[in-house]
Symmetry: C2
């Protein structure tokens, strides 16, 4: 039995959540949470999650389906009638892939689980600066959510959300992953495809830019590789 | 078509959410949200929800299943191995029926839906003073959640949670329901049974006390009726 405190890590299967798990693993006993929300690539992401959980010997894993986000719609990730737009990573607009209030739904599940298993930390791989501009990826959102946890759980409960990579640029996340020997080859970031990453959606573009600026080759393959270093 | 602003009301099917819907109906076009979370009485509650939605001619209804709360466990409402305790409505302890962080999970769903359909208000029938002492039924929790909504939704989005009965005593909720001609006979509050209300669980006890102090007969039947007026 581990004597370390327990932390829940939200692991989508993407690079950011993998590196976040690698950071949490330095100090905590990991409980890994994966959430399907009816997104296009959910089977591939679940495969990535299980590969990552196996790598970290995380026996305590919870896979939850919240397909109501697809019922509710409003995002190209869950609504097949809205196209996943090609990346425009300098745009100030919130992209069509934004799933309304998604991260609050996910954090609420994590807090419910944390309260039951006695975890003191919830790690999430949100990225604020070098991101797609989703409102629920900003530190101000997580600070506000920590106040909700304080107000909405039992008095003896202490659960804090940690966002260790929120201020990092993507190339810094790649480097941090390499330093921590995170299995980057097991992760999956593409929003569009499940066989070979498309290379052009927001998520692929940001990931590729990160590897290119870090001067490291991405171990996963792509259908199309553009040079994003100056984007 | 209605010109009124849209409000989402969380309708469990209980008396509190019914009276909350009656209040929201005075001013808003109603969109009704019902959430199954694997609780013991979910079929009966869904029936109550549909009866209430029919009564208010609410065509826009969303029924969502979040059975992960039962997967997570930790409550007598969702975990069959924990007994639903008999009421001790003066106890300072949080009862076994507390579902960890349940209301945050429900509100997050409501906010996702509100952002997609353009609703400006979310009504929830939380009761603070005359309640079972759940931490997520306190106004401080809803104030904190409103800050999370502000931080975590698109800049042009304005959604506010309203808790119109949070400071009322149960007998005042009964009277308000009568005034607004809310169909109290359609509501269901019992945590334990689906055929005839048990009369002894926390929820039945609080409801019965409310009717008894209001001097009004509850239109639903009970297996056992105790005098709760002095509890």
């Amino acid at each position: 039995m581990s004597n370390r405190d327990k932390a829940i890590v939200l692991v989508s299967g993407g690079m950011d959540s993998l590196v976040t798990a690698a950071i949490a693993n330095e100090k905590y006993e990991l409980s890994l949470l994966h959430i399907n929300y009816g997104q296009r690539t959910q089977n591939r992401e679940l495969k990535a999650f299980n590969g990552i959980a196996d790598h970290y010997n995380a026996d305590n894993r919870l896979v939850v389906s919240i397909e109501y986000l697809a019922q509710i719609g409003g995002s190209s990730l869950t609504d097949r009638s809205i196209e996943v737009s090609a990346a425009d990573i300098n745009s100030k607009e919130i992209p069509t892939s934004y799933v309304p209030f998604r991260n609050a739904n996910m954090l609420s599940i994590a807090v419910s689980w944390a309260e039951v298993i006695g975890a003191s930390r919830i790690f999430i791989g949100a990225v604020e600066e070098d991101s797609s501009g989703y409102p629920d990826c900003r530190q101000i959102f997580y600070d506000a959510f920590n106040n909700v946890i304080e107000a909405g759980t039992k008095p003896m409960t202490s659960i804090i959300i940690e966002t260790p990579i929120i201020s990092l640029k993507k190339y810094e996340i790649v480097k941090r992953g390499i330093e921590l020997k995170a299995p980057l080859e097991l992760s999956w970031s593409c929003y569009k495809n499940e066989d070979i990453a498309c290379g052009v959606c927001d998520s692929c573009a940001l990931r590729l830019k990160g590897f290119q600026l870090a001067g490291i080759e991405d171990p996963i393959g792509y259908a199309v590789i553009r040079d994003y270093r100056n984007c």
